[in-house]
Subunit: 171 residues, 2 copies
């Protein structure tokens, strides 16, 4: 808080007129990161995999705007209402699909890990791996398929999302 | 570089005696984050899903020691030899399992996203979500299964790893 007050060139006490402390600042940052997450109605219809896929696509897009915030946000308990609403929608959808309570928590954690990693991948360089001498042929061939492909990260996300939903369906 | 030199209380020019610049510092940090990744032999035997699972478990454990580094490392191209070796092993294993070159890159990207997100989850609070009024019953029931469970993150990682490998196998 003192450092933030210095950066903003205000006194710490005037900062406390607006926020109660570090926890609240983190939640305000989380609201910002989540602000473009689009959620369906309270009782979304259609196949559960479609509902989840749409939520995760907009979750990734929204977080990809602020990759550096991710480790801060994951280090604090989620407490902001838009975030809780997203997890409510995911939980209702998974329960409707037949997941028990424990697997619902596990599946939501899997989705979170995948989406946050994928949001970081959006900020990765156009060629995330250097292709030097040490690269074996199998990896070199794989890397070559991504070179110069503007939608590399989007394409990999859709592939990963489909694999994840297939894996959860086949449990 | 100037800021790092100040922090270390050395002159920028003496810092350049040790490293060539920011890129090399990032690669040294990546080597540190990867240092506990255990890799099998060049031609690992056994089912491909077992080989991949073992690599990803140690990849997650190794990175979980430095969660705050993750967005920095993903913002720079991978260039360190231990990291390249890990991707070589994954690529060889996936090609052996029948993945074509493009799907090998996509599957490796999925593994990266999942593992980096899971490494961040290790650093999450014991209860990553606040369970307040806004939480609907389906999500509340799910959260209750994680409360007080010391191995919540490990348990969710194993569940997610199994789902991911099932999804990739069923492609």
């Amino acid at each position: 808080m003192p450092e933030l007050a210095r950066t903003l060139q205000v006194s710490p006490s005037s900062l406390y007129n607006h926020v109660t402390g570090r926890d609240q600042i983190v939640e305000l940052l989380r609201e910002r990161a989540m602000s473009e997450v689009e959620l369906p109605d309270e009782q979304p219809e259609g196949p559960w995999t479609d509902v989840v896929a749409e939520v995760l696509r907009s979750y990734r897009r929204s977080y990809a705007r602020y990759p550096r915030l991710i480790p801060l946000l994951t280090a604090y308990p989620v407490n902001s209402s838009h975030a809780i609403r997203m997890y409510n929608v995911l939980a209702v959808t998974l329960r409707r699909a037949g997941f028990d309570a424990a697997d619902t928590l596990r599946a939501i954690t899997l989705m979170d890990c995948f989406v946050l990693g994928a949001a970081l991948d959006v900020a990765a360089p156009d060629e995330p791996w250097h292709s030097g001498e040490e690269v074996w042929p199998a990896f070199a061939d794989a890397l070559a398929t991504g070179v110069g492909k503007a939608d590399r990260a989007d394409d990999a996300f859709e592939y990963g999302l489909a694999a994840l939903l297939r894996g959860l369906s086949a449990d």
